[in-house]
């Protein structure tokens, strides 16, 4: 099914199952421990050996010598694989650095060997006995230093993957120079780690030339393709299975060393091997959100109309890596005739930077939405009113392109009303509650919508049950549930009569989970397959499919009805289709919107910051399941608090690695950090984006949160911090004296 004209009325609009707050259908499996994660497929592979990876001890250089003799003789050791004995390996399309290093070392903790032994303990002990001599080389580990000479970067998000290095509309420099009110500030965001609960893990089993890999991955087909490329075997020989994923946030979009080393280890050992990455490898041997340095300039009229806006961002990555696209939202969010955005990309020898929940917009809004708060203060204007004043219903770079739906103003107004924004004291540092300095802040949430082709197979069995199969993944988001809701709605059956099977390359290729495209894209693919299945059912039952109604296990049309199950009396029906996307995203800008409101308190003595209240209002198309959508948004808000107040991978600029590489050193919020959170979804159905009329919320939810917190902290203290995370040491010296 090609989606190239706006959706008309369709069975989803009935919202009998879709749009209902249905609890996750996979919930009981997870709460009772019956959902098998990558390391837990004890039923299908009963005799695995254990692989433990040795990571590079240096950030840049080469392996001078590697001595395996002691490790190979250690108790229980079956095989040791290194680049020397692994045979020729390719590099996956989505990998920046090789997943098995040697002799060249590209980054710290790059895998250099896997030790396979009978038990995990034996493999761990033997891995420590692999002797590697390194020849260390000078590495580039200092982003600020490297940015001094970094070139402009192409925009990887543009359709041709390499848009112009700069985007210009009007004459920014002249308009900015003449603007009566000006802001020109620098903001920094740090490297961040996804820190999902389940680290990467894989179980590999060979059957002759055929490899099955049970893993934890968001994108089945990408992983399968890249594993085949890496191993140099036909894609058809790889089965890639990932039914349950213990969190991803972008860190599991790509093939990583766990899967490659499990496959190589299993080949060498002649038996199935499983490998899990130790926690320190998550930041240092997978991907992370790259640090940014952002300069923002805004010129406005005295009454708050933006005349000129410029956003220039710098980030770093390994050679051939991508920039962090922190300017995304600035091209689209606010009105203004004169615009400039650009990105610089420095070469760094730190581990690979890549997508983490809302790549681009999350760090971009951390900066832009502080800048807007600062501009509001310069103008003597309410921050909400400044955003309303500069709303635009068209793409500001291409005014002929309207937004498909854009109810940002509705989010702002509803949020301000519900939060009690009018009680905010606009003078910073003016509100006290005992020893606490109290403030309120807000920020806009914005995240572009992406649609990805997505396929599904739907089967109506003779027992009347509907089975959906697609390689879509559920990374804790609720995919199983919204797919079941979609099929139930389309086929007119109860959700209990739908079985959803996900995460297996034996199933049709889906969008996968990422970029908040998963919910809308994958359910649209299921919609397309269900349309075909309805046609097949209608044909068997003698209905004109176009006007048949599927409801309560019945098919109604003309002036007669039939039982759905009668269609399969002589054999089950199977239909497969995929959704493909036409050019509606070219004629309409498709984005999601929201507003975050935060109350924060700062200890007047110690400077400690604690969030007191949070509210998000989202306008993001049809909400397929308010319960799972709310869980996505409150999780994202929690992650936003982490970004605001504590999350930072500390770079050792001499030794070239992320130092705080465990969950004691890399702090993320705990329950005690998270106060009452409220989420409101505005009623919306966006017919330009998909037959589901839905968009995504999982990344929208984090966008702007950190700035809302930072703005609340500023409102509490009167001390502006532009370097994330906003930790107490950054404002301590400017707080009121205490002794």
């Amino acid at each position: 099914m090609k989606f190239d004209t706006a959706a008309e009325a369709n069975p989803i609009d009935r919202m009998r199952v879709v749009g209902r707050a249905h609890p996750r259908i996979d919930g009981p499996l997870k709460t009772t421990g019956r959902a098998a994660y990558a390391y837990e497929h004890h039923d299908v592979v009963t005799n695995p050996a254990y692989g433990v990876i040795v990571g590079s001890a240096i950030g840049k250089g080469r392996i001078a010598r590697i001595d395996l003799t002691v490790a190979e003789r250690a108790p229980g050791v079956i095989a040791v694989v290194t680049a020397e004995n692994a045979g020729k390996l390719g590099k996956g399309k989505h990998n920046t650095a090789k997943l098995l290093g040697g002799p060249d070392i590209d980054h710290y903790h790059q895998a250099v060997a896997v030790v396979v032994a009978t038990t995990f303990e034996q493999a761990t002990a033997a891995a420590a006995l692999v002797r590697v001599e390194y020849a260390q080389a000078e590495g580039r580990f200092d982003l600020d230093e490297a940015l001094k000479t970094a070139p402009l970067a192409k925009d990887p998000n543009s359709p041709e993957k390499q848009g112009p290095p700069e985007s210009r509309t009007g004459d920014f420099e002249q308009a900015f120079a003449q603007a009566p009110v000006k802001l020109d500030e620098l903001y920094t965001t740090p490297d961040q780690s996804h820190s999902m609960m389940e680290p990467h893990a894989s179980l590999a089993a060979w059957n002759g030339e055929e490899l099955t890999i049970w893993t934890s991955n968001q994108m089945i087909d990408w992983g399968r393709t890249d594993l085949a490329i890496t191993l140099g075997i036909p894609k058809e020989n790889v089965r890639f299975v990932s039914p349950y994923v213990g969190g991803g946030f972008g860190c599991k979009l790509f093939l990583r060393s766990d899967a490659v080393m499990a496959a190589l280890g299993a080949k060498a050992a002649g038996r199935p091997v499983k490998v899990a990455l130790p926690r320190p490898f998550v930041p240092n041997s997978t991907t992370h959100r790259p640090a940014t340095r952002q300069r923002i300039r805004i010129g406005a009229t005295a009454d708050g109309n933006i005349l000129a806006i410029a956003h220039e961002s710098g980030s770093g990555n390994l050679p051939d890596g991508q920039p962090e696209t922190a300017t995304n939202q600035t091209r689209l969010l606010y009105a203004g005739a004169n615009r400039l955005t650009s990105m610089r990309l420095a070469v760094l020898d730190l581990p690979e930077g890549n997508a983490m929940r809302a790549p681009g917009e999350a760090p971009g809004l951390m900066a832009l939405e502080i800048a807007m708060d600062e501009l509001a203060e310069k103008l003597g204007m309410d921050p909400v009113e400044l955003r309303v004043r500069n709303d635009t219903q068209v793409d500001p770079e291409k005014p002929e392109r309207p937004f498909s739906e854009r109810n940002l103003v509705g989010c702002l107004r509803e949020g301000a009303e519900r939060f009690g924004w009018q009680r905010r004291n606009s003078s910073p540092g003016a509100v006290r509650d005992g020893n606490w300095l109290v403030g309120m802040g807000m920020a806009v949430a914005f995240r572009n919508n992406m649609n990805i082709p997505s396929g599904a197979r739907v089967r109506l069995g003779q027992d009347g049950r509907v089975t959906v199969e697609t390689d879509m993944t559920d990374i804790g988001t609720g995919s199983y549930t919204i797919i079941a809701q979609t099929a139930a709605e389309m086929m007119g059956v109860d959700i209990e009569n739908v079985l959803v099977r996900l995460g297996d390359s034996a199933f049709p290729i889906s969008s996968g989970s990422g970029g908040q495209f998963g919910a809308n894209s994958s359910t649209s693919g299921v919609y397309a397959a269900c349309v075909k299945l309805r046609e097949a059912v209608a044909q068997r039952l003698g209905f004109n499919s176009a006007d048949a109604t599927f409801t309560h296990g019945q098919v109604l049309g003309g002036n007669r009805s039939a039982k759905l199950i009668d269609a399969v009396r002589d054999g089950e029906l199977v239909a497969e289709d995929k959704i493909e996307w036409g050019g509606l995203d070219k004629s309409y800008q498709q984005s999601t919107f929201g507003a975050h409101f935060v109350e924060a308190a700062v200890d007047g003595f110690t400077g400690e910051i604690r969030v007191r209240r949070m509210l998000a209002v989202c306008a993001a198309g049809r909400i397929l399941n308010p319960l799972t959508a709310r869980s996505q948004v409150i999780g994202a808000m929690t992650m936003g608090v982490g970004a605001a107040l504590m999350e930072e991978l500390a770079v050792d600029k001499r030794r070239g690695f992320f130092v705080n590489h465990d969950l004691a050193g890399y702090e993320v919020p705990v329950h005690a950090d998270i106060p009452h959170q409220e989420v409101i979804f505005l009623d919306e159905a966006d017919d330009k984006v998909s037959p589901m009329k839905a968009k995504g919320v999982a990344e929208l939810g984090i966008c702007g949160v950190a700035a809302a917190v930072a703005n609340a902290v500023y409102n509490a203290t009167g001390v502006r911090v532009r370097d994330y995370p906003v930790t107490l040491d950054k404002h301590l010296n400017s707080l009121p004296a205490v002794s």
Binding site: V651, H661, A672
Partner: protein, 317 residues
């Protein structure tokens, strides 16, 4: 983790003797720190002597009206003990500010005193660390040092002691009771229990080889306002940037020990003479010899402001 042998001890002196005579032996009780370190091969004991079977799990009154806390009393039990809550509030509060409920259920009084630093370079065996591998150097001093020590540190090591409990015990002038391989017992004032690193940061306490902690004794209750204030980046389950254990009197005098800044709970009795003058002169005296890095210099200010917070809180009560 390296392979090791294991035995359960039933008599304290035998355990101490065994520890002294067996190469690479270590005691294990709660194991909340030791097992983590063994998995990372930061600790590589060849033999573990499990002391959980020793009968050091009671909290008893002492003759002089203080409390004797058995070495194996779990942090949870100690924090919840009615006598501790009533008479040694600073200790109960310090315990509850540390770790998590699950860890406190396992962690013992003696083990808490012996827990090792959380310096991230100590935890990464690819990095030089004089505490882990004497003579290899210190990567932290010119590296990521925001969490690390500002006073009592040396050219060889700037690691901090992560304990909350020990800071309160320092304010209370607790004593550590031990038994050695020959059956001799002694009491070590808490002030003398932890060593400063100097050029041997691998040596962290004044315990001799095989010497086993049997109890910690608290002197008779100290009247006054008991406060433990722990400052950290997140609200729970984090090590202190700075913590203050205080017992303060209405006249402005008191005792005050600071955590998160040094290789041991940091208290200078003479500095307490400055308390009547307020947090500033007290802190200036307490940290007169501070040698912070650029990254952790804020701790000097933070100590002063946290002490001020504690004094303010005491005045409100």
């Amino acid at each position: 983790m390296r392979s090791f042998t294991y035995e359960r001890a039933s008599l304290a002196q035998e355990a101490a003797a065994k520890a002294q005579e067996t190469p690479g032996a270590k005691f294990i009780a709660g194991g909340t720190n030791l097992l983590d370190l063994m998995k990372l091969e930061i600790e590589t004991p060849q033999h573990l002597i499990d002391v959980n079977g020793l009968k050091f799990d009671k909290i008893e009154k002492t003759e002089d009206g203080g409390l004797r806390i058995g070495a194996l009393v779990r942090n949870t039990a100690l924090a919840a003990d009615m006598r501790v809550r009533r008479d040694y509030g600073v200790l109960s509060r310090a315990l509850l500010a540390g770790a998590s409920g699950q860890l406190r259920n396992k962690a013992t009084t003696a083990g808490n005193l012996l827990q090792r630093t959380r310096c991230p370079y100590f935890y990464d065996t690819n990095q030089p660390c004089n505490k882990r591998t004497p003579g290899s150097g210190c990567a932290a001093i010119a590296g990521y040092s925001r969490q690390l020590g500002v006073i009592g540190v040396s050219e060889a090591c700037i690691a901090t002691n992560p304990s909350d409990m020990a800071v309160a015990m320092r304010a209370l002038d607790a004593e550590v009771e031990t038994i050695d391989a020959a059956g001799r017992t002694r009491k070590i004032p808490i002030a003398d229990f932890h060593r400063l690193p100097g050029d041997r940061p691998d040596l962290e306490t004044t315990l001799s080889s095989g010497e086993l902690i049997t109890a910690v004794t608290l002197p008779p209750p100290l009247r006054g306002t008991h406060i433990y204030k722990k400052v950290r980046d997140r609200a729970s389950y984090a090590f202190a940037l700075v913590s203050v254990a205080a017992v303060l009197q209405r006249d402005g005098t008191g005792r005050l020990a600071v955590g998160g800044v040094a290789p041991k709970p940091w208290r200078i009795e003479k500095a307490e003479a400055e308390l009547r003058g307020g947090a500033k002169p007290f802190s200036a005296r307490l940290l007169a010899d501070a040698k912070p890095t650029n990254e952790n210099a804020f701790k000097v200010t933070l100590v002063e402001r946290t002490v001020a917070a504690v004094m303010h809180e005491a005045r409100q009560k």
